[in-house]
Symmetry: C2
Subunit: 181 residues, 2 copies
């Protein structure tokens, strides 16, 4: 299985970054976290975490999916040309593209939402003009797009991502139980 | 309001560390994370985070509560005399003592569980021999003890901790909504 790329931009929402990585690594997926400009990145609530790699160094790998955590980082992700191009390349190749909270605005900017059902943080709903439908569900999978609503839905988003990567329903259910979800 | 002390030992469960800090900082509580031996600490699923302080430097502050995240770190917390002493001092002073997942074993070792209702990760339930009752609830507050069940209950544990620190029910409900919980 190819690894999963998680982008760490300054101001990432800490639970939204941590939960999907935690869940995927528990299922033995390889996850590579990549910082935009630095390997040391501070989250929205003051927790500084270390990325495994710089994005520029990670790009050479062949990934199965790209994950964009939300928080104030979402606007940086949206406005970073390298991220926009990566999202477009993943979508064009039919690879999984995942974003939570406000980060779906980066998918809108990359033009990959078209005709898809998604979810997002309520306050950015109006910005996702090209989506077919913006639901209020914790997590939504539609084709190769996986979206999550906010930090309180970060675990649901992680489980949806695991299922979209091919983890069986039984294994996801077992993991939920193991995590006391 | 006095700050909240969160102990970061190697192998901490990342969601269990992140969720309560995130929740408390959203509510404007001061939170100080303290590493046992190093300010750079690696979690159970390979995410390395930076503590605000070393525990030895943080101890001079006057804290309102101590929080022990779980994961493999729980056994280190249990077996570290400085942590045991701190937990006893907080309990003796009537300050909040909080632990999640397997970390309540450190409260058992410190002798502060006596006659309290608690929750914990199912596999360590048998070790909490001095508790009055070990429930299967996501989070339990009993007197000055707040306990959580596991990573899937880390948000519930964070909200319970906020309430135990004096955040009103309305404010906790509002935060849950803001976080799409």
């Amino acid at each position: 299985m190819k690894p999963v790329l998680v982008i760490m931009a300054p101001g990432f929402e800490e639970i939204e970054l941590t939960a999907p990585i935690d869940i995927l690594r528990r299922l033995d997926y390889e996850v590579v976290t990549a910082g935009l400009e630095s390997r040391t990145v501070k989250g929205a609530h003051g927790i500084t975490m270390q990325a495994d790699s710089l994005l520029v160094d990670a790009e050479e790998k062949n990934f199965a999916a790209i994950v964009l955590p939300g928080g104030p980082a979402s606007w940086t992700l949206r406005d970073t040309p390298r991220v926009k191009k990566l999202v477009q390349e993943f979508a064009d190749a039919g690879k999984l593209v995942a974003a939570i909270c406000a980060a779906p605005i980066a998918l809108e900017a990359a033009g990959v939402l078209k005709e898809h059902r998604v979810t997002c943080y309520p306050s950015v709903k109006a910005e996702l003009t090209s989506a077919a439908e913006v639901s209020g569900e914790p997590a939504v999978t539609d084709g190769s797009l996986v979206t999550g609503r906010g930090p309180g839905a970060a675990l649901a988003f992680g489980y949806a991502l695991a299922a979209a990567l091919g983890t069986t329903e039984e294994k996801v259910a077992q993991l939920k139980a193991d995590m006391c979800f």
